[in-house]
């Protein structure tokens, strides 16, 4: 599902960051560990097609990302990849329902209202569809972000530090939700984190230095 080989990336000023060979199979859950500055986010962005201009190879679903045009990459990302970030980045001008609807709309897929309700139910957000996102608690907002990531049934979900700002209880809850949501949708899950509390939740671990 994800194949990274011989990958390195150059930020304009600093020296190139080299990444290890990575192979993640379909449906597999895996942890990307490393201290701050070790390049976790960069690697995640490279694998998610948010960052271009690398040397080496990144293949998702047997597609070499660097060979896609910018627009094709946007489309590919919208259909195959879901993201969960440390901050939720919901669009505050829109209701919960519309925030979720943006995901299929921007990916060029039909908007399925039933699916939206179902995903919200799965994540314990019944009845919140027409609330404004500013009315949600932090935990609820995080769950909306997860709902948005899985809505299009992506084959891969990338999560960047989803738990680092949470206490133990919520950390537990969020990682469980992520794992459950990924399993339900048969998605590959890659979590980049320096949060050691996650080490015993996901067994496959890749250490960056």
């Amino acid at each position: 599902m994800i194949t990274v080989s011989n990958l390195s990336f150059n930020y304009t000023t600093s020296a190139a960051i080299r990444f290890p060979e990575i192979e993640v199979n379909a449906g597999e859950h895996c942890l990307l560990l490393g201290e701050s500055g070790s390049g976790k986010t960069t690697l995640l962005h490279l694998m998610g097609g948010l960052l271009r201009g690398y040397s080496g190879s990144v293949k998702l679903d047997n597609t070499e990302l660097s060979q896609l045009s910018e627009t094709a990459l946007d489309r590919f990302r919208g259909r195959h990849v879901g993201f969960v970030f440390q901050k939720n980045h919901l669009i505050s001008a829109l209701s919960v329902r519309k925030n979720l609807a943006m995901s299929p709309y921007l990916a060029g897929l039909p908007v399925d209202q039933q699916r939206i309700v179902q995903v919200l139910d799965d994540l314990g957000l019944e009845g919140k569809a027409d609330h404004r996102v500013t009315e949600l608690s932090h935990g609820q907002a995080q769950r909306v972000a997860i709902a948005r990531a899985v809505l299009n049934k992506p084959s891969i979900i990338f999560a960047d530090e989803p738990t680092s700002a949470l206490d133990d209880t919520n950390c537990d809850r969020v990682i469980r939700l992520l794992i459950d949501a990924a399993s339900q949708n048969n998605a590959t899950l890659v979590v980049a984190t320096h949060d050691h509390r996650l080490k015993n939740k996901i067994t496959r671990q890749i250490q960056l230095r």
Partner: protein, 422 residues
């Protein structure tokens, strides 16, 4: 879900900001719309009213007054001219048509005009009810006079001296309404037409009361074998040295008239010729200063609103950097973000100008409903000009222009950097 919904929600999320931008632009557009509607209608009315009249010949005085009085009927006469002198002009070979006018009285501030059928024909007037005036003291009234002064067929009324209500009433003789004209959308709608002899009859008494005026009694002129009718007023003998009229409206036979006639007329000590085209152009150039100042004010408002929209979009984009990045991560292309920002600017100005145009028409409708003068002048808020499309399209372009820089910024959003750089 689509971009319009997204943009609409963004606008709704900042109601005050959106409202102030729309209001600013709407005010500017409304001022322009009002000026456009008012000016265009006024110009149309003026050219319509002066159509077919190449020259006005009357007593010496202000040429502008001569035009305002004899064509638009909104000013006082400059004085009277001898019928015999008017005839000399009318007989000139360069004159195709000459229509005599005798002014002086009014009813409820609607002017009574002594003239002949040619004057009504000039405006292609048709009758709605009754018949044209035939005898002395018969009148045919304009559509507005019938509607606003409440005169009906067969009504008799006494005229008042001058053009304002409450002047000296000519109680001795009463006019009788014999016909009502259909609306012509011209100055005729506000006039009461009769023959010139009626005006003389009215003022004969008037003259007796006031010794300083030297009107002579009107005789019933019996046509005899030697009787040569006046070319202007057939009931009077040509060359009558006593009878007076206020003015003569002249239509040229050829363009040569425009060169020769005014000079010919003005060289006679007692007469003056004024060209409606020239005088109205002069009038507009005087009014034009005020219009231009208002226009300038409107443009300043529009520029400010453009600036305000630009600043609003620019600032909101800073807050929306993450929104942009997250939309990109969900599959939005760069150009889609660009379009969404342009759409936001365009939608704002489109709303603003639509509200502005509605406001402009509304104000004019209100004005027409409340101010009788506007109604008399035939100015309404219910006409639409093609220029209004230009205003709409222009403001749309303004919106796109204001949104261009923010949109390019959105286009250039570096998603990875924004998402990583918490």
């Amino acid at each position: 879900m689509n971009l319009i919904i997204l943009v609409w929600n963004y606008l709704k999320a900042r109601p005050l900001n959106t409202a102030i931008n729309i209001i600013l632009l709407a005010l500017g557009i409304a001022v322009i719309a009002i000026l456009l509607l008012f000016n265009r209608q006024l110009e149309e009315k003026i050219t319509d009213n002066a159509r077919g009249i190449d020259l006005v010949v009357g007593a010496k005085g202000s040429p502008l007054q001569l035009i305002l009085c004899n064509i638009f009927h909104i000013d006082f006469p400059t004085g009277n001219i001898k019928l015999a002198e008017a005839e000399r002009i009318a007989r000139n070979r360069l004159v195709k048509k000459a229509i005599p006018l005798a002014l002086g009285d009014s009813y409820q501030s609607y002017r009574i005009v002594g003239t002949n059928q040619a004057y009504a024909d000039l405006y292609k007037a048709t009758l709605a009810q009754g018949a044209w005036w035939k005898k002395d003291l018969d009148v045919t009234i304009g559509a507005n006079v019938a509607a606003l002064a409440g005169l009906k067929l067969g009504d008799a009324f006494a005229s008042a001296h001058g053009l304002t209500e409450g002047g000296h009433d000519h109680e001795e003789h009463k006019y009788v309404v014999t016909g009502i004209m259909a609306p012509t959308n011209s100055v005729l709608d506000n006039l009461i037409l009769t023959n010139i002899e009626s005006i003389w009859v009215m003022h004969e008494e008037h003259g007796d009361e006031n010794a300083d005026e030297t009107h002579e009694a009107v005789h019933d002129v019996q046509p005899t074998a030697s009787f040569k009718p006046s070319p202007l007023i057939p009931s009077i003998a040509a060359g009558d040295s006593v009878k007076e009229v206020t003015s003569v409206l002249i239509q040229y036979r050829s363009p040569m008239g425009a060169i020769q006639l005014p000079r010919l007329v003005n060289s006679q000590s007692s007469l003056q010729a004024a060209s409606p085209a020239f005088e109205t152009a002069r009038l507009f150039s005087i009014l034009g200063v005020g219009v231009e100042i208002l226009m300038g004010f409107a443009y300043v408002l529009i520029v400010i609103s453009g600036l305000s929209i630009f600043i609003a979009l620019y600032n909101s984009l800073k807050e929306r950097r993450y929104d942009m990045a997250i939309m990109r991560s969900m599959g939005a292309s760069r150009s889609r973000l660009l379009i969404s920002i342009l759409l936001e600017g365009g939608l704002l100005t489109l709303f603003g100008s639509a509200v502005g145009l509605a406001l402009g028409h509304g104000v004019l409708m209100l004005l027409a409903g409340m101010v009788e003068e506007t109604q008399k002048a035939g100015i309404t808020g219910m006409v639409f000009y093609t220029q209004e499309w230009i205003i709409l399209v222009g403001s749309l372009l303004l919106g796109l222009l204001c949104a261009l820089i923010p949109a390019i910024q959105a286009y250039r959003t570096d998603i990875s950097r924004v998402l990583a750089g918490n």
